[in-house]
């Protein structure tokens, strides 16, 4: 953090460089996989592999195929709008993971908290009869209900960690699967299952359905305001939720960087015992950190479910929502900087849009983008090594320090100073 150091030797710059390098390697791996598959397969070929590779890198600006069958490119408002829509819950789960990570906790429980948020927001939005309250109030209640449910769910591993010193990763994994089964149970005995569109009985009503005289009527329910964004990106799913998510990111940034409370949380993350010695209640802060992290994840679920154009497959006991897990790469790529999370979440959703284009336009499929994301997470596991390699000469001393870190209790993440200031590119 020394200002006299050359730009490339600074912690922040190195973090950004390490992230960019991870992204580049991840994308290169994806491209290579496409190339190998294309060349090895009988039906595909070098030509289709080249198309696939171009779509991985520029799928956002793909506009389909022209009359001659060649890929066409240009501004695609629908793609960009959908990208921002998909980024919305990712920003929230990313914030959740990032904020917990800064407090020394690895919140792998984001999927469970997200599911609890889904349950609460849908139950409130669909449970209150349409005429009983003004629609914005129902929306607000559902959103706050989601946050509350997620906060409670986050508090469980938080309390177990704080009072019984149980590894939060294990506790989070257990609560994830408890949530998955609990949500399935609750929805299986509810009357929110979509029976109006008769092919869709395994889905819950969209929130645009409202309860009128004991029956669900399309259009009587609630949906997040579009705030004019649908005019900018016609044909896409986007709504005002993305702005709310960005506001949350700024709020978390201010809380972590500009308030005493945030400082205390980070102090607990760096060294729980030192923080206690300095008069900070470490137990309270660990619980609060998980409560906030849980609330953030669940808020993402609230925003996603209350959009009015999403459907929830309620029999979810066999799998956890990917949005929750993808909060982990989002946070790690952003080096846990709340502002950085906005950009990395948008990058992740850009990848998934590219994946959809790949499925629609070529013989390849969208799962290659998940492979790319996994490679990026894998690389971020040893971002420390990459950073060491980036600043080999000057940073020898710092690197040894960082390696000595694991002396403190297990699963303590990297230092706070390292997680700082990864946003300015």
């Amino acid at each position: 953090m020394n200002q006299k150091e050359p730009l490339l030797q600074r912690e922040g710059a190195k973090s950004v460089l390490a992230s960019l390098l991870s992204i580049a390697i991840g994308l290169a791996f994806g491209a290579l996989a496409i190339l190998v598959v294309g060349l090895a397969s009988r039906d595909l070929g070098a030509g289709s592999a080249w198309e696939g590779i171009r779509l991985i890198f520029g799928g956002l600006f793909s506009t389909g195929r022209g009359a001659s069958g060649a890929l066409t490119w240009g501004f695609n408002g629908q793609n960009i709008g959908n990208m921002l829509f998909r980024a919305m819950p990712l920003i929230m789960t990313g914030l959740s993971v990032a904020m917990a990570y800064k407090t020394g906790l690895f919140n792998i429980g984001a999927p469970g908290q997200y599911l609890m948020g889904t349950l609460a927001s849908l139950a409130i939005a669909l449970g209150i009869p349409s005429g009983a309250l003004p629609k914005p109030l129902i929306w607000l209640l559902a959103f706050c209900g989601a946050i509350l449910a997620g906060a409670i769910w986050g508090a469980i591993p938080g309390a177990l960690k704080a009072f019984l010193n149980i590894n939060e990763v294990i506790a989070c994994i257990m609560t994830n699967w408890i949530a998955a089964n609990f949500v399935t149970w609750m929805f299986s005995i509810s009357n929110f299952k979509n029976v109006v569109e008769n092919t869709k009985s395994s889905y819950i009503y969209k929130t645009t359905y409202g309860l009128v005289d004991g029956k669900y009527v399309s259009g009587a329910g609630i949906a997040t305001s579009k705030m004019g964004l649908d005019k900018v990106f016609p044909g896409s799913q986007i709504n005002g939720g993305i702005l709310i998510a960005i506001l949350f990111a700024i709020g978390v940034y201010v809380m972590m960087e500009k308030t005493t409370f945030g400082y205390e949380l980070k102090a607990c993350g760096s060294n729980r015992h030192a923080a206690r010695y300095a008069g900070i209640s470490d137990r309270r802060n660990i619980v609060l950190s998980m409560v906030i992290a849980g609330g953030l994840s669940a808020a993402g679920a609230g925003l996603y479910c209350l959009s009015g154009n999403t459907e929830f497959f309620w029999s979810t006991y066999q799998s956890l929502p990917a949005i929750g897990f993808n909060g982990i790469p989002v946070a790690l790529l952003a080096v846990c900087n709340p502002i950085g999370v906005i950009f990395t979440a948008i990058f992740m959703s850009m990848l998934s849009i590219s994946g959809l284009q790949l499925t629609n336009l070529t013989a390849y499929n969208e799962y290659i983008t998940d492979v790319i994301i996994a490679v990026i997470v894998y690389l971020s596991a040893f971002s420390l090594v990459i950073k060491m390699w980036l600043g080999r000469r000057k940073d020898k001393v710092g690197a040894v320090d960082a390696n000595a870190e694991p002396l403190v209790p297990k699963s303590e993440p990297k230092t706070v100073s390292e997680a700082k200031g990864g946003d300015e590119a």
């Binding site: 492979v371 994301i373 596991a381 090594v385």
Partner: protein, 342 residues
Amino acid sequence: MTFLIQQTLLYAVPLMIVALAGVFAERSGIINLALEGIMIFGAFIGVLFVRIMQGSAWIGAAKAANAYGTLQLFGVLAMLVAAIFGALFSLLLSFASINLRADQTIGGTALNLMAPALALFFIRLIANQNTLYIDGDGPSWFMIKKAMFGYGRTEKMSWLGETFINKMYLATYICIILFIVLSILLYKTRFGLRLRACGENPQAADSLGINVYHMRYAGTTISGALAGMGGFVYALTTANCTSNGDVAGFGFLALAVMIFGNWKPLNIAGASLLFGLFKCIAAAYSSIDINGDGVYLLKEIGINENVYRMLPYVITLIVLAFTSKSSRAPKAEGIPYDKGQR
């Protein structure tokens, strides 16, 4: 009763072997959160192997001649292939966490994300859908049938035979034998002692001339092989030998079994039977007639099946809460080993 015992065994055995996989990694000092991912990868590779080989002349001839022995050998071969690829896949985790001293939790999470993505990417390319099947009657090739022992269609085996032999899988018993052999390896041999030492106090182990890096590689590689094999056994015995980039959270459930069993093989065997029973009840609670008197007791109690599914995790969490002080978790797990460190 026969049905209940068979189904419980089928669910419990993959859990047991994968939980043991977790033990091998953690006892050597590496947290293997990637169990789920390695299982998915192993299941995919195993099913893919069966799918590729099913058309070969060797298998075709065996099917035509009803050569049960050959078909069983084919199943064992598929298990072996799944184990080898599971071990290879786990090398990614070993490399990151041993050589590069990376965060093991994140490394494991990365593998958990990578396995379903890779599997689904290839399944879609190969099968043009999200599930990889083998030939229609495929799964039954690997099943042990009473016809193999000369029983006719209407004849019945003894109760023991009906329960433990007819319609069971050889894979289940191979896993049980492996479980016993490897438990002995872990507790009664020099290798096992050294491996456990590396998970408790690697510095002390190193000072006595044990190569901690090698031991940790051995631990995670055995772990990967077992998890990969467990994944295929799961796919074979409970998912009709199909692979869809998902093992329904069995890897994480195995993690719960390992913790519930306090990192000890005998307790793990018990815990996996208990959790297997819950899984079995959840899957078929309305049709289980425990003592054969025509009363569907579990159905009449009327507890929602999701409660049974939830119970293993709830119990594990409660057990964790009560035993956190006396937990036998390896002391050095999750901490990268650095030679220069005191």
